[in-house]
Amino acid sequence: MSQRAGQKRKVVEVPAPEVEEDADQLDLGALNGDFDGESEEDADEESEEDEDELEDDDELASDEIPSSEDEEEVRQQFQDMKTSNGHSKSAQSLMGSDTAKDVAAIATDTPITPLNSDDAADIPNYTVSTDANGNLRYIYGEIDPVYDSDDSDAVEPGNTIGNIPMSYYDAYPHIGYDINGRRIARPAKGEALDSLLDSIDIPEGWTGLTDPATGKPLELTSEQLETLKKLTRNETPGDGYDPYPDMVEWFTGKGKEEVMPLSAIPEPKRRFVPSAHEHKRVMKMVKAIREGRIKPYRAPLTEEEREREEEEQDFATYDVWATEQPREDHVMNIPAPKLPPPGYEESYHPPPEYLPDDEEKKTWEEQDDEDRDRDFLPRDHAALRKVPGYEQFVKEKFERCLDLYLAPRVRRSKLNIDPESLLPKLPDPAELKPFPTTNTTIMRGHEGKVRSISIDGSGKWVASGGDDGTVRVWEILTGRQLWRLKLSKDEAVNVVSWRPGNAESSILVACCGESIYFMVPQHELCTPEVDAKSREILDAGYGYAATAAPAQKTSAGADKPTAASWARTSATLQERGCLLSLTLRTTPKTLSWHRRGDYFSTVSPGSSSASATAIAIHTLSKHQTQYPRLRLRGLAQTTCFHPSKPLFFVATKVKVRIYDLQAQKMEKELLPGARWISDIALHPLGSNLIISSYDKRLLWHDLDLGATPYRVIRHHTKAIRAVAFHPGGLPLFADASDDGTLHILHGKVVGDSLENATIVPLKVLKGHRVVRELGVLGVEWHPREAWCVSAGADGTIRVWT
């Protein structure tokens, strides 16, 4: 747009007088309205000419007279055929008026000038008008594809009538139709033009003929004309034309003779040409024969010759390893093992000590061939001449052959080391002292098995209970029996246990049958203060049962039989020191005390008892029994309390569960991998747990580590019955097994969790007899010393120091 504006400005710059003059002439022309050929007009003022021509055209059209016109007019006509004449005209006029208006707006009173035709190409191809609403409206004109436009469809304008004789149009003023359906006017002819023709030079190549196809004058170049002229005169048409060219022999001449035989006579032999290839091959054979590679004829061999030949072939005549290349060994290729060299015993005259004595000779002869450690019997021959032939020689060689091709070969790496180096290094047991080594005291008295033992907190007394239904108290140092009480005639005392605590009180608990008895042993070493204190502790719980939760009533109104009943014992028992009894409906097999001595738990693993009542926790000070709901899977075996935290360990047959009693939830579950746990023991620090099992294993669990054991110790040949840690801080633990031995091990636990526990086996204590597959049933440690006490199935209690 700016360009266009610039153009407009350029137009404005046209000097005014000229414009005025043009305008005058235009006016004049318009006024005249006639075409004056003589009127002097500037050749370059085409616009004016156009104007005139247009007017002429109009005249022609209106008059319908094809007047003779000059060449330019004809050309113009053809030009007009390109574009829509009428449109351009109107457009031009419109444009002119518009521009004029614009110009007028800039400079008033200036006459409107039509634009230069040169500029016409740059004239925008649209008009601006107002539509019905009074807005500007651009009306675009037809696009005029000029010659060098990139419109490929632009074809030469032509007559569209097709291939019909032009005579059809003789009666019409036009000769056909252009592409737009407009008539094509017949070119002017006749007298009207003659004068014009005279005035105009004949264009080059003018022939005066009309090309019938186009209706245009036919033009021929001078050369063409010349050629035509020569042809009409029977002359040679051009310079390069040779009227007499040489003949090309396509089918005659040398090598194109006919090959068809003209006679059936066979080819004569003189015409034979021998094959060079065959000759070559024959010569090769000749050469081979000369060199001896081919033997032309071989006389049949006689039998001797053949044999000799064969014999010669048997021996090597060349070196197989002339070009030897080592091959690297393959893993799967195992060379045959060499036979071992003979030893001294194979000598014909061995040293006398290698000769077998009669017994060895006899065993060798009796053995089968396969069982013999060597395949010959050493023999002594005083001289070489006395050595007989070895009878088995061929057989041995044959067997070697069989081995070579029939025996599977296996590569075996032989470990040639001192077996001592395989043994682990252990600290010297002397450094780990003290630990029990010898049996110092044996306490006899129980009839039948001693099922349980317990050492008093003060470390002076051992209590024991056994199959005979008695509870006995022994002095640990002397092995003297201090006190004895028969609790039952027919039922065994399963557990005896001292109430933990200081020396102020001494309360012994024993489980016999379904009852648990609380006793204050009456013996000479028991002072009255201690006795009184103990009785006080036992009596403290009376009354709680009444004030506790009201007894549950059954639907019938009677008291529901409680699971546990605390009661005074009979007078006879009271006299002997047994003061309190607790009767459960199940048979407790283990009993473990809480550190403070107020709580204890019992486990009744019997299959008859419901799992809900298998584990009971009792409060001594309140004479109360609770059954925690643990929802165990499997039979409960034993329990224990953590020494410092409110944790409760419950061992079932294959698992150990740790419950937090405060939070009332399960803290952890250990999977020792044992098939049947027999006993558990917690380290006094509470960080490590040992589990013994009936399947001969001892499993050390570090509770800081995972659920699987840290060490699995399998030293016993029979089931392990009991295991115990030393309670007094010595790094010792012991286990009792059915093979009649006790194993004392060193198990050092370091306070910080970075270091793992060290376990060293120290001592195997043998002494207990195995009675009916049962060995040692219980083991207990002295609270301070490195002594332990064991209870055996043979009815003895042994003290090991």
Binding site: P350, F376, G389, C401, L404, L422
Partner: protein, 707 residues
């Protein structure tokens, strides 16, 4: 979902094929497959897990490595086997049509000859590989060389084996590469070192081999076929390696007459003329033949001129030759002895490890082999260790001997007879006995015509064959007097046994190898047995022992005794038994009170806990008795007892300690440990047994010698 893997399509199942699968794949019969496996050296494998490999439930399936079988697939021999099969079919067809001549023609013209050259090259890519595998080949071929021909073993095979083995022996003689040899009850072991490879083979004694019914000669024949090809290539390489022509010329005539080694003529590659084997030797051979013929005609003793001829050629400096083994060679190796028993002992090459030493061992000697000695092994060994002049009795027409028995140049004569007297009684200083010459049944009358063949020729050393073997194994000449005819020989020891820690070594004195206190213990244990134990072994040993100590066989009585022993075996009771009993009594007198002590303390071993206490008590008792005079024996006994108990205690403690440590081992390791301990214990037990026997023998000896 992933594709379900089919069983038996990958892994171990694919790596192994059973034998029947292999047969199906190769499309050959089982005997052919067997032959192919033998030729190609293919053997069954033991898969790590049989269950994973086997598709059937049969437990005793043989598995082959699949790649081995695939490798057999393009074996040219397979084609040959098929040709053989088709030929057999054709022949049987022809025979069925009664066309015998056609069958013969077929067999002659189409007979398949199997060559194994390519297999040799395949199996042994290098020459050294072939040498490494030569042990079995040589043992087998030497066996076949000595077998009689049967329908299973054609004479051609035997001849071939003989020829190849003799060629190989010739090479060893030529290069002096034989290193060791050993006379065992099975045969003679030889060891040669070729190209750094130790080759050990066994040659049977010349007896007719017993071939039981359970020996399949087809299999052995296949092996022999392969081994002959192998050995012939090895021989070719060995011969051409030292510039000899292979195969060496074989004189068929002399071979037939029994000249084993000397039937061959080795010739160098450059010169066409035969040479080597000592040109003098060949000349000598020819001379010898001519001489023998002349002798037969004239019945004259061998001319002295010949003997004189020999004299300058053979530089025998010493006629006695036995103890004067002058250390002339400087290239021989020195033996290093370890002064510090704790230091590591290095393995030392044997004295005959280098060619020079081996070639010089018997070089200065002219050795004659008596008729009764094994001629071939002795000839081979002597020649391999440098002896150029080996003669033997040619009365049976065996060619190749250097000289006859009468040759004056002979320095050593190897005899294997009870004893030989010296010819003229006045000359002997050793004492002559007439009864020495009666035993070997030699035709006395004939020999007596010119010279009794059973008497010694003065100036020669008479030795038994073992002297040769012991000399070469020791790398130096042994004392000839120990190996004199009729003498009880020292034990012949295997040269390949290496002294191992804990194992028994008969060459060392007993005291060096015994564990602490072992002797004492054994003493105590065996004392009671000793009284009644008196067997021929001991008798024999003390007899020889006595001789060893004396060094000279002067004593007529001793000789008498020896002869008796040698002739009648070992179960002779000696005449001096009553004196021994006396001796026993004398020896027992000192020990009499010891026995009382023993009976008192017999349960010491059992009650381990109270042992120390008892030992202490014994000590106290000894102390108490020590006051009294003449109870020195008691003190000794008590000391021994104390030592015993102390040792027992130590042992017990050590055992306890190991038990304790074993407890902390993982199970797998513990099992391994127990296995090792067991095998070590086996070894120790064996060694201890041997030591015990020796102790018994030695104590018997000392008693006899004391007597």
């Amino acid at each position: 979902m992933a594709k379900i893997k089919k069983k038996g399509t990958s892994g171990a199942a694919k790596n192994y094929t059973t034998r029947s699968q292999a047969l199906r794949k190769l499309q050959i019969s089982l005997p052919d497959f067997r032959r192919l496996c033998i030729f190609k050296g293919i053997y069954p494998r033991e898969p790590r897990s049989k269950k994973r490999v086997s598709k059937s439930s049969t437990p005793s399936t043989t598995f082959y490595y699949t790649k081995d079988i695939q490798y057999l697939l393009h074996e040219p021999l397979l084609g040959k086997f098929r040709d053989q099969q088709s030929l057999a079919k054709k022949i049987s067809k022809a025979l069925g049509r009664n066309e015998v001549s056609g069958a013969v023609r077929l067999e002659r013209n189409l007979g398949v000859k199997i060559k194994l050259d390519h297999i040799i090259k395949e199996r042994y890519p290098t020459f050294v590989d072939a040498l490494r595998d030569l042990d079995d080949a040589l043992s087998m071929l030497f066996l076949f060389a000595s077998l009689p021909s049967t329908e299973n073993v054609p004479p051609k095979t035997i001849a071939k084996c003989q020829r190849l083995t003799l060629e190989f022996e010739h090479y060893l003689i030529r290069t002096h590469t034989l290193r060791k040899s050993f006379l065992s009850i099975k045969g003679i072991y030889y060891q040669a070192t070729l190209h750094g490879q130790d080759i050990l083979w066994l040659v049977p004694y010349r007896f007719v081999q017993r071939t039981g019914g359970d020996v399949d000669f087809r299999i052995m024949g296949t092996f022999v076929e392969f081994y002959t090809t192998l050995l012939s290539f090895v021989n070719f390489r060995l011969y051409t390696g030292i510039g000899l022509v292979y195969p060496p010329k074989l004189d068929a005539k002399s071979e037939e007459s029994g000249a084993e080694l000397s039937a061959f003529t080795l010739s160098g590659q450059g010169e066409g003329a035969e040479q080597t084997e000592g040109d003098g030797m060949v000349d000598r051979e020819a001379q010898e033949k001519a001489q023998a013929a002349a002798d037969e005609l004239l019945a004259l003793p061998a001319p002295a001129s010949e003997a004189e001829e020999q004299m300058p050629t053979s530089p025998q400096a010493d006629q006695n030759g036995d103890d004067a083994d002058a250390p002339e060679a400087t290239t021989t190796l020195d033996q290093f002895t370890n002064l510090d028993p704790n230091a590591d002992t290095l393995l030392q090459p044997s004295l005959t490890a280098d060619v020079q030493a081996a070639a010089a061992l018997f070089e200065p000697f002219t050795i004659f082999l008596s008729r009764e000695t094994p001629r071939h092994p002795l000839e081979f060994i002597l020649k391999a260790f440098g002896c150029k002049r080996v003669g033997w009795d040619t009365s049976l027409g065996e060619p190749g001997a250097y000289c006859g028995e009468d040759d004056s140049g002979i320095t050593h004569q190897i005899v294997d007879r009870p004893d030989l007297p010296l010819p003229s009684p006045p000359l002997t200083e050793d004492g002559v006995d007439e009864d020495g010459m009666l035993d070997d049944g030699v035709d006395d009358s004939l020999a007596a015509a010119k010279r009794p063949s059973n008497v010694r020729v003065p100036g020669r050393v008479y030795v038994q064959p073992q002297w040769v073997w012991d000399s070469i194994n020791a790398g130096m000449l042994q004392r000839a007097d120990l190996y004199a005819p009729g003498a009880t020989l020292p034990p012949h020891l295997s040269p390949w046994v290496k002294a191992k820690k804990g194992a028994y070594d008969p060459t060392l004195p007993l005291a060096e190898q015994e564990a602490e206190g072992e002797a004492e213990e054994a003493d105590g244990d065996s004392e009671d047995e000793e009284v009644d134990e008196e067997d021929a072994d001991d008798a024999l040993d003390d007899a020889s022992e006595g001789e060893e100590i004396d060094g000279v066989r002067g004593d007529a009585e001793a000789r008498d005794l020896e002869d008796e022993l040698v002739d009648d075996g070992m179960d002779v009771h000696l005449g001096g038994s009553d004196s021994e009993v006396k001796d026993e009594v004398v020896a027992g007198a000192a020990e009499a009170d010891e026995w009382g002590g023993f009976s008192g303390d017999e349960d010491v071993d059992d009650a381990s806990a109270s042992k120390e206490a008892r030992a202490h008590q014994a000590e106290l008792e000894a102390e108490a008795r020590g006051l009294a005079p003449g109870v020195l024996g008691d003190a000794k006994k008590v000391a021994r007892e104390a030592g015993k108990s102390k040792r027992a205690k130590e042992e017990r403690e050590a055992l306890e300690e190991t038990e304790r440590r074993k407890l902390m081992m993982p199970r797998r390791k513990r099992k391994m440990f127990e296995k090792m301990v067991y095998s070590n214990a086996q070894r120790d037990e064996g060694a201890e047994k041997l030591r015990g026997k020796r102790r018994k023998i030695e104590s018997g000896k000392t008693k006899v010698s004391a007597k």
